[in-house]
């Protein structure tokens, strides 16, 4: 362990060595897109221009955080950009049109994140809007349950004209806001029963949508926040038991749950049918080796279904290698670590719970996605934050980061 020889001063507290990270990230983006621009014989100038725009976005944020949001967490901003840029490179390699759409969602997410960083510290009455948030959340989930469109086996999409979105994604944010608001006001178990009923109704609606991934995320985040909010181990264990009981009942009631578990237990039983996705994913990860096959040399695109969303981690491992795959996992770990430190520094219980709920949601999403891809847990159809293609997912993840950064700004006692 490192020993500090003298008490640090304020000047020591400035984030050290961030310029090198920005330089490396810039180098990675430029090299990747230069490589991709030469893939099809003639030079693809669109790829080069796109890379310059991406680098511009990163530098803009870096300067903004360095000089305007000095109390925001620079490490989190850098990690989010590293993961987003990796996602953008992978998406461009898979399909340039997808990458352009992803860039629009990324830019919208950045704008929302900055707005939240400005507005949230000034919103003092946020916790008193619990009832409004709960009604909005139930209404959104009902929209998808009763009027939604089916995609990938789940009825979790809702369309308004040509605009489609996943209502369960914004409800994640609402769930964290509601739980933080209620648990910061009440610790008495009788008073948080209505919140428990709300979480239960949300999960039932998600089960009806056959959205297993979101159900798991909601349950995990609610459990973590319940424990941190009340510190009551018996109640937390009882809630866990109720969730586990619900999972067992779902297993026996719903065919699709049984199929997912059966495929997880033995994907090789039907490698060309129900186990096709997971088998191809495992083959892609294994064929990448430690250093990967090289950007653009992979074959997963033709073989792997949902290669740009649920299985993007398998594509990364195939083309960039397992070392970078592990790096991605560790980047998420550092992100969660910084988020927890910000939560611990929060001066009010509401802020602490809001921050920890946000990072818990991102952490659970990462574990659920990567766990499914590497056959650690059954496949659930959850996206990988910042990397997978998807507007709802990218914007929701950016909102969570905006919340964490806003709490860092509100409680930062010093310039970084």
């Amino acid at each position: 362990m490192m020993k500090l020889r003298k008490k640090p001063t304020a000047s020591n507290l400035q984030s050290p060595m961030t310029n090198g990270i920005v330089f490396s990230l810039t180098l990675f983006v430029l090299c990747s897109f230069c490589l991709l621009s030469m893939k099809n014989g003639a030079v693809d100038y669109a790829a080069l221009i796109f890379s310059l725009i991406l680098v511009g976005m990163v530098l803009f944020q870096y300067i903004l955080f360095r000089f305007a949001f000095v109390r925001a967490d620079l490490q989190i901003m850098l990690i989010v950009n590293i993961l987003s840029m990796l996602g953008m490179v992978v998406q461009y390699r898979l399909d340039p049109a997808t990458a352009y759409r992803q860039f629009i969602f990324y830019a919208a997410g950045i704008v929302l994140m900055i707005l939240i960083m400005i507005i949230l510290p000034k919103m003092k009455k946020l916790r008193s809007l619990d009832l409004f948030f709960a009604c909005a959340a139930i209404a959104l989930l009902c929209l998808a349950t009763f009027f939604g469109t089916e995609s990938g086996g789940s009825r979790n999409w809702f369309s308004i004209g040509s605009f489609t979105f996943q209502p369960s994604e914004p409800v994640k944010v609402l769930l964290v806001l509601i739980l933080a608001g209620e648990l910061s006001k009440n610790r008495n178990i009788r008073k948080i029963i209505p919140t428990g009923i709300f979480v239960g109704i949300s999960m039932i609606l998600l089960v009806l949508q056959k959205d297993l991934g979101a159900t798991l995320l909601y349950f995990g985040a609610a459990l973590i926040m319940l424990y941190l909010g009340t510190g009551n181990i018996p109640i937390t264990l009882a809630a866990f038991g109720a969730g586990a009981g619900g999972a067992v009942v779902s297993y026996h009631l719903f065919y699709h749950v049984r199929t997912r578990v059966a495929v997880w237990r033995d994907p090789w039983a039907d490698p060309l049918g129900s186990g096709y996705q997971i088998v191809q994913s495992l083959i892609a990860i294994a064929s990448g080796g430690l250093f990967g096959m090289g950007l653009g040399n992979g074959v997963a695109k033709g073989l792997l279904p949902q290669y740009d969303t649920d299985f993007v981690f398998a594509v990364i491992c195939e083309e960039f290698g397992q070392i970078i795959g592990v790096c991605v996992l560790l980047f998420y770990f550092v992100l969660v670590f910084r988020g927890c430190i910000i939560a611990l520094r929060a001066k009010t219980r509401f802020e602490a719970l809001l921050c920890v709920g946000s990072v818990a949601m991102l952490a659970l999403q990462t574990i659920t996605n990567i766990g499914g891809v590497i056959r650690f847990i059954p496949l659930t159809g959850v996206t990988l934050p910042f990397i997978s293609y998807g507007g709802s997912s990218m914007i929701t993840s950016m909102i969570f980061i905006g919340i964490v950064q806003a709490i860092s700004i509100a409680n930062g006692g010093r310039r970084r």
Binding site: S15, G20, F28, V334, G413
Partner: protein
Amino acid sequence: MTALQYELFAGVMRFVFVPLFLFMLIRCAKNAWLEYRYEKEYFGDVGTRGEVMGYGALLDEWQDDDAWRPLYDDADIGSASDCSFRVKGHGLRAKHARIYFERGRAYVQRLCLNDDILLVNGTRVADKMQIFEGDVLTCAEAKIILSIPNNVKGGRNDETA
């Protein structure tokens, strides 16, 4: 560039990408850890205690300055080792009561069973009760005198903090 040339070039570039990612990861992790260490050193323990909101002492010992112990937000009173206000040998439950701060006011909350003794100035605390400067808290056989300034900043739901 032919397909074969591209394959070779991409194959070489992977040995550039891996060190770049490792470098970024190590720097990010090191920065995150260094910031945590510096903050801990500069501002004290992260999250374990928080701000001192008041003081408390056993009534028998209050004249001794060293007997006054700080009360942090969400201070648990009890005999367990993880209680921030630990009182041994007076028949207290492991977690007997909790003192917390909400909107600038201090409260005591019952964590023990209903039959256990928890009084504020001789009045039984059913669930929670507001406490003031100079109140005497009776937890089982222990009498604790509290020193809590009015309108404490910080604590739950305190927007002024």
